[in-house]
């Protein structure tokens, strides 16, 4: 190559990062992703790629491959979960902080309601801004109505009622996933689960059932009571529930499926189970942690472990990591009832597959109820069992 190089070659000693935004728009096959992500290997000390994909549009082809992306050599995955109400509030405070008196005309109650509502819907920060702008407009408009004098108008205060009205105006137009039967538009989690493959849904079901048993203080595979004391939260969030390890969960999953009858669902092998678990973590439905150090995100092992993780293509992510105890929990921010809705449990209009899954759910629910009643009655256990029975009867 001659010395008079085009500009980029002059950067050969520079470090370059190629950012590919909205990758889901053009990635139409797993192969195209693989060939794209192999590019940095041609210049691995100079070039990196950051690919950004929206995974909400689950009809896009990318979602089908998201379970395998972490197996491609040299690829690290990072999943952004929707914002929590607290995070949304922080964002608002940061944005509006320069105004100074914002607390006066946007009281905390108003913002709290807004952030809770948005977080329950999609956690989308653009929606947050749009609804708040709409609410401000409504507040201004109502002040203008009552005080016709624009010059001496008192500053309008944005009330919760404005937020609710702005929300109504916002939701019908924008939510494409909303079904008329549900009260709010379906959350990201529900749509995500609905679009999982059959085996993935069964794994998710096993995780959910196991969480419920652990919350009720029962062990997974027998009706015996868990020895350790639980700081279980009865409200149904998974935050206070102890995790389960992969091996035990796989055994439980196997027994659940065999109780369903051998011709209904075939359990997958232990290593495939691990792969599916890795995939569920990549899309943010479960959280995995090792016994020694918690891993918050998919694909972020320590430096030493990275070598085996990154370079082997055929093994699943979890297969390499899970030498010791791997703890599995439902991911934070994912509610049990969302998982239920996604799996089709509890609504009448379902297809054949959902019907089978529902049968498993009811059978295991009865079993849990029996086991829970069998133990010495504590308030927590009884309420758990009672709640469970109610859920089946709807």
């Amino acid at each position: 190559m001659s010395v008079s190089e085009p500009p980029f070659s002059a950067y050969s000693h520079f470090h370059s990062i190629l950012v590919l935004d909205e990758l889901d728009h053009i990635a139409n096959s797993f192969q195209s992703l693989v060939s794209l992500f192999s590019l940095p290997h041609f210049a691995s000390s100079s070039v990196r790629i950051i690919g950004i994909a929206n995974t909400h549009t689950l009809t896009s082809s990318l979602s089908q491959f998201s379970n395998s992306i972490h197996t491609v050599s040299g690829v690290k995955t990072l999943h952004f979960v929707p914002y929590t109400p607290v995070q949304l509030l922080e964002i608002l405070r940061a944005r509006l902080g320069t105004i100074g008196e914002e607390k006066k005309f946007m009281p905390t109650a108003t913002l709290t309601l807004l952030t809770k509502k948005i977080a329950a819907m999609t956690g989308d920060v653009r929606a947050l801004f749009e609804v708040l702008r709409g609410a401000i407009d409504l507040a201004v408009a109502s002040e203008v109505d009552t005080h016709m004098d624009l010059m001496n108008m008192p500053p309008p205060v944005v009330m919760p009622s404005h937020i609710l009205a702005a929300l109504k105006a916002y939701t019908p137009a924008s939510s494409t996933a909303a079904r008329s039967s549900s009260v709010t538009s379906n959350s990201e989690v529900v749509v995500k689960i609905r679009n999982l493959g059959l085996q993935s849904q069964l794994v998710m079901l096993a995780v959910l059932l196991a969480s419920k048993r652990l919350e009720a203080g029962l062990s997974l595979n027998s009706s015996s009571v868990l020895k350790r004391s639980l700081s279980a939260s009865v409200g149904g969030s998974s935050a206070g529930v102890p995790g389960m390890d992969v091996g035990t969960l796989h055994a439980y999953y196997g027994s659940v499926l065999s109780r369903a009858g051998s011709d209904v669902f075939q359990p997958v092998s232990r290593s495939e189970f691990g792969d599916l678990m890795g995939m569920l973590e990549t899309v943010g439905l479960v959280a995995l942690s090792s016994a020694s150090s918690p891993l918050a995100f998919a694909g972020s092992p320590t430096k030493g472990g990275r070598r085996t993780f990154g370079r082997s293509v055929s093994c699943g992510g979890l297969g390499n990591k899970a030498k010791g105890a791997q703890e599995i929990k439902i991911a934070e921010g994912v509610r049990a009832e969302e998982v239920q809705r996604g799996l089709g449990i509890g609504n009448m209009d379902e297809d054949v597959r959902a019907g089978e899954i529902r049968a498993i759910w009811e059978r295991e629910g009865k079993r849990l109820g029996r086991d829970a009643k069998g133990r010495a009655v504590t308030k927590v256990g009884y309420e758990r069992g009672g709640e469970f029975e109610d859920a089946m009867e709807d």
Binding site: E5, P6, P7, F8, S12, H13, I17, L18, V19, L20, D21, E22, L23, H25, I26, N28, S35, L36, F37, L39, P40, F42, A43, S45, S46, V47, R48, I50, G51, I52, A53, N54, T55, I69, G74, V75, K76, L78, F80, Q87, E90, I91, R93, A94, L96, I99, F105, T122, V125, R126, L128, E130, L132, I136, A139, V140, P155, T282, V283, R306
Partner: protein, 122 residues
């Protein structure tokens, strides 16, 4: 005052370092972007998530503070992956030099070839 508030509530990701939250994600991206000298490092970071969760904003926020050459391509403007190869060639300025050869070497192969020369160049 309400007008000011409205103006501040525009959804932008304008590449400044100001961004509330996402601390763990920020750390992960920073670590990835500083790993060029590490032979074992990941070479691709794949970020996924629903719309409006701060992905693009965070990446821009992290990269703008680093001493690194950033090439940003929004794939929404492209029709298919072949268009991406062409776009990469344009960004890398190869086409100007290899005008006569562009028929023989396909888009992807040309990109790969160019990248290989980066490592061995000079």
């Amino acid at each position: 005052m309400h007008a000011r508030a409205r103006a501040l509530l525009r959804a932008t990701c304008n590449g400044t370092s100001q961004m509330a939250g996402r601390d763990q994600e920020r750390a992960a991206v920073e670590e990835f972007a500083s790993s060029f000298d590490d032979a074992d490092a990941y070479t691709t970071l794949y970020i996924s998530g629903s719309p409006g969760t701060g992905k693009t904003a965070l990446v821009n926020s992290v990269l703008c503070g680093l001493d690194v050459n950033v090439i940003s391509i929004n794939c929404m403007t492209l029709n298919n992956i072949d268009a991406l190869w062409e776009r990469l060639l344009d960004e890398l300025d190869l086409r100007k030099r290899n005008k006569t050869r562009s028929k023989k070497i396909g888009g992807k192969a040309a990109v790969e070839k160019l990248l290989s020369t980066l490592e061995t160049n000079v």
